[in-house]
Symmetry: C2
Subunit: 259 residues, 2 copies
Amino acid sequence: MRITLIGSGNIATHLGAAFRNAGHRIVQVYSRNMQNAALLAYHIGAEAIDDLNSINPETDIFIIAISDDAIASIVQQLAKYDKLIVHTSGATDLYTLLAFTDKAGVFYPLQTFSKTKEVDFRTVPLCIEGATESATQALKELAQGISNNVYIIDSSQRKTLHLAAVFACNFSNYLYSVAQELLAKQNINFDLLRPLILETAQKVQEHLPADVQTGPAARKDIKTIDMHLNLLKGEPELEQIYRLLSQGIIKKDNGGNAS
Amino acid sequence: MRITLIGSGNIATHLGAAFRNAGHRIVQVYSRNMQNAALLAYHIGAEAIDDLNSINPETDIFIIAISDDAIASIVQQLAKYDKLIVHTSGATDLYTLLAFTDKAGVFYPLQTFSKTKEVDFRTVPLCIEGATESATQALKELAQGISNNVYIIDSSQRKTLHLAAVFACNFSNYLYSVAQELLAKQNINFDLLRPLILETAQKVQEHLPADVQTGPAARKDIKTIDMHLNLLKGEPELEQIYRLLSQGIIKKDNGGNAS
C-alpha cells in the first residue's frame, strides 16, 4: 500500500518503521516542523513536507498521528483527495472523521511508545474500525501485516479501552513514582522495587489481576494498614489514595463490586 | 549452614529451594499443618514437624516465614535454643524478636511469590538487618549466596519499603483489576491490555517513573479527563480514584509535590 503519514511523533515513528518493514511504501511524512518530518522521512524512505498544499494525491491512505485537538482541521483539508483517512487516537470518535469523509477509519495501537525504546510491533494490539465494510477490510489487512494482535473495536469500546488503559498504565506509573519518592526520602534506592514491579506486571500476563491480588488490604491486615496510614501522616493526598485503593481491594474481596 | 524453616507458605517454599540449591542443609520444616510441612520438607530434603517440641537444636538459624501476628509467640518458644532467629516480614520490627533474644535479625525478600510461578532468586532483592555485627555478617553471607541484590536495611527503612511496595505493586495490581472489569462490561478481552501493562513496568526498569509518565493528566488534556469522568458516572468510587490520581499527576508535573 502507499501510505502517507500525518505527524512525526512517537506513534508515527513506530508505525512508519513497521509499515516500511512490512514492505509498504511511505509516500510522504507531514509535520508542521520540517526538521521532524525530515528526520522520520529519511529513516523510512519518504518525502518530508511541512505544508498540506504539498500533499501528493498518489497515495492509498492517510494515517493521522497527531494530537487529538488537531485531527478535525487536518481531515477537513485532506478529504478532497477522496482517499481512506484514519486516525490513531484512543479518545477520538470515528464521527470526527465522518463529518468530512465517508472513507474513514481508526487504526489505534494500544501501546505506550517512547522514541528511545524499540517495541516489537508484532505484539502490539491494533484496534481497527472502518466506516464501511471495505475500509474495515483494508485496515484489517494492513494491521495484520504488522501485528499478530488485531481487534475490530468500535468507537464506544475504544473509549472504554482508553479509559481502562489510563487506570492500568498511566495510574500504575504514577503509583510507581509515589513509591519512588517515598523511598528517596529515606535514601533507599528505587532498584529495590524494580523487580517487584516487573513481577507484578508479569503475573497478570497469565492470570486475572483479581486472582493474584496480595498485600495488607487483600488479607484484611488492619494492623499493617493502620501502620502505613500512620507513616503517611503529613501527606494527606497519599493517605487518601492509600485509603481509597485499600477500600477498593477489601470491597472486591468481599464479593462486593468495587467498580 | 544448617537452616530450620518455620512456615511452609510461599516465602518458605521459595527460600527453602534457593538455600538448598546454594548447598545449605535444611534441617527441619515446621508447620502447624503436617501435610504442608511434609510437602515442602520432601522437596528440600528436610524433616517435617508440626510440633515445636520436636525442634532439632542442631541448627544454625531459624528462619520464620509465617503470618506477622504469629511471629512473637514462635520466637518466644525458639529463643531457648540460643541460635540466630530471623523473620522474613516487611512490616515487622526487629524489636519483636529482641524482646526474646539478642541473636536476632531480619531476612526480607522483596518480591511477590506464587506457588505456581518460578522466580529467579538471584534477581530478588534481599533486605537484611542484624541485631549485632556478627548477625549482620552471617545474614549477609547467607543472602549473597542466593541473590545478587543484597541490601542492609534497618527497621525504619524496611517499613517505608513495605509501604512503597504496597503502592507500586498491590495498588497497581488493583488498578489492573479495575481495568479488567471495565473491559469485561463491554465484552473486551483483557488480552488487549496485557502488553501495555508489561511495557509500562518494563519502562521503569531503566527510567524513573516520573520521567516516563504519559496519559491525559500528564498532558493536562482536560477534555479527555472530562470524557473519562463522564464514562465513570454511576461508579463513584472509581470516579474518585480517577480524580485523585489525575490530580496527583497534574500536581507533580507542575513541579509541585504530589506526596
